[in-house]
Symmetry: C2
Subunit: 311 residues, 2 copies
DNA sequence: CTTTGCAAG
DNA sequence: CTTGTAAAG
């Protein structure tokens, strides 16, 4: 049966669990069975070589690790990822080594950027099971690299960028910097890299692209993250340049949020926004097995998102 | 039997509870039976007209009221006081009314001072069952009244001052202000009032007077609160002017602390200081039934202190 | 070690 | 509402 735009079929002829057709890939690719409890896609065949990437705005890594309810090792075991990308770690450079050591066994390769201009602000990281060929911190433009917003690693088949796009802020006081400086600089950097290898950008891009990506579009037209200016910048700097919004490509009609503000208890009422993305070069987008959201993982005002890539 | 300087006798011929002679008044006044669990003095005879005053540095009143373990009403019922004096409320003027309303039924008279120079800093209050004849906020010297450190109320038989003496601070950077400005100004103000009625000053006077009043005298000779300068100022400005340290008068040899720093888990190990006092004009000091400490009341780095005054 | 206010999201 | 800072004790 269908509920609004979502097809909901309880299937009983799948193996262990009552998989439910809850979401779908774009029409020509057919429907996809999701576990309705966890909203995870069905497991990819073990014989298919693949990589599993998770990205998460953790809103303060130290606070997250302090939570009784959260264990990084449990998350790693349950999700069985190869690479974990973090945003808003809010770490200072001096705290990174202690955190790195305590974090995840088996993930010996981790690359951290911290804000040096405002301590305890922003901060991104890529934590990987596989050792990358190269690493770059920031855009390589000192004007935009003091806030620890970007880290890039190079794998065999693609560049992976973990980014935290500047929030336009209360009163939209940073909107202009965001759309005239940051977004174009990041876009140019991605296009430069793309001449060498496909590029995947993940992270908190601080923009809900379309009305489907936010719970109350009408009421948020002048809210940071849903202004016309930011949505237009997202379109022209990233999508029009050939980077594919993999979640939307896989699930054209699915309402899927990745952020729920603390301020109005939004997670309970699902008053959310989709701010976190995996954008992929067209040349690698057809290797996406699925792009999905992990809405049951708590501990931050964002949920993690996942990407499974066939190699 | 005696343990060090303290006489400890378990008495079985007192009424309900196994009162223990744990402390004593000064020799000519004889020993006093204390409840060894609570360290409270024996109840005063109901036929004796008296007033019970409690003073407490609460180290942030809003945090205290948030604690599950603490209820202001319970404290009021258990201790059955007439007047409660608070220091370090850390309230802002704008928050006082909400707190006042929520605080204590039956205590309709409350008088609050807040720091206007540093928000959320210092702050004192007197909360009373009895309506006082007059109230004064501060010393009446605008140079020293911006930090909400003093409130005075006038009762029938005495003036009650609730004060929070400036901490000399890390590096003793405020020691000079404290001993050359604040202490003499407060002392002069008390002597002025005393021409009209006896004076009782209570609060966090931020000075451990003698070696008996601090757990590690040798190691704290240059620590704020135990410098020779502060101890000398305490002696000359208050004791030598005829104000009696009522706890020490009642209990000449008792080690009794009222403050244990959070920094070294001092409360568990009793690494404490006696910083909180009831000082009383000589003319009213003989009406003191007892001056005592309430070491079992948690919720702050200070414990409350009590004074029972015969009228 | 803990409180407060503040900036930021 | 929650994170992080800083000043203060």
């Amino acid at each position: 049966h269908t509920t609004g735009k979502q097809l909901v079929i309880t299937s009983t002829d799948m193996k262990d669990e009552p998989w439910t057709i809850l979401t779908h890939k774009k029409p020509q690719k057919g429907w996809m069975a999701y576990n309705p409890k966890t909203m995870r896609p069905p497991p990819i065949a073990a014989a298919t070589a693949h990589m599993k990437l998770i990205s998460w705005n953790v809103n303060g890594l130290r606070a997250l690790l302090k939570l009784e309810s959260f264990s990084a090792m449990q998350l790693a075991q349950r999700e069985n990822f190869d690479v974990l990308c973090l945003q808003e770690t809010k770490l200072q450079e001096k705290d990174v080594d202690a955190i790195r050591l305590s974090l995840l066994e088996g993930f010996d390769n981790s690359y951290w950027t911290c804000s040096v201009s405002k301590l305890g602000y922003s901060g991104t990281a890529i934590i990987s099971r596989i050792k990358p060929h190269s690493v770059r911190y920031g855009l390589g433009l000192s004007d935009h690299d003091s806030e620890g917003r970007l880290v890039t690693v190079e794998f065999d088949n693609f560049y992976l960028l973990c980014g935290y796009v500047p929030n336009s802020g209360d009163g939209l006081k940073r909107l202009s910097y965001r759309i005239t400086q940051w977004d174009p600089s990041l876009s140019n950097y991605m296009k430069d890299l793309e001449r060498l290898k496909p590029v995947i950008l993940t992270g908190d891009l601080n923009c809900a692209h379309q009305e489907i990506d936010i719970w109350n579009p009408a009421g948020n037209k002048r809210s940071a993250g849903f202004t016309d200016e930011e949505r237009h910048s997202f379109q022209t700097n990233f999508l029009d340049k050939g980077f594919v919004d993999t979640f939307r490509e896989q699930h054209p009609d699915t309402v899927g949020y990745t952020y729920w503000g603390y301020r109005h208890g939004g997670r309970k009422t699902n008053k959310g926004w989709r701010l976190d993305y995996f954008l992929a070069s067209e040349s690698i987008a057809d290797q996406v097995y699925d792009s999905y959201i992990l809405p049951d993982v708590a501990g931050s005002d964002h949920s993690p998102i996942g990407l499974i890539l066939k190699l």
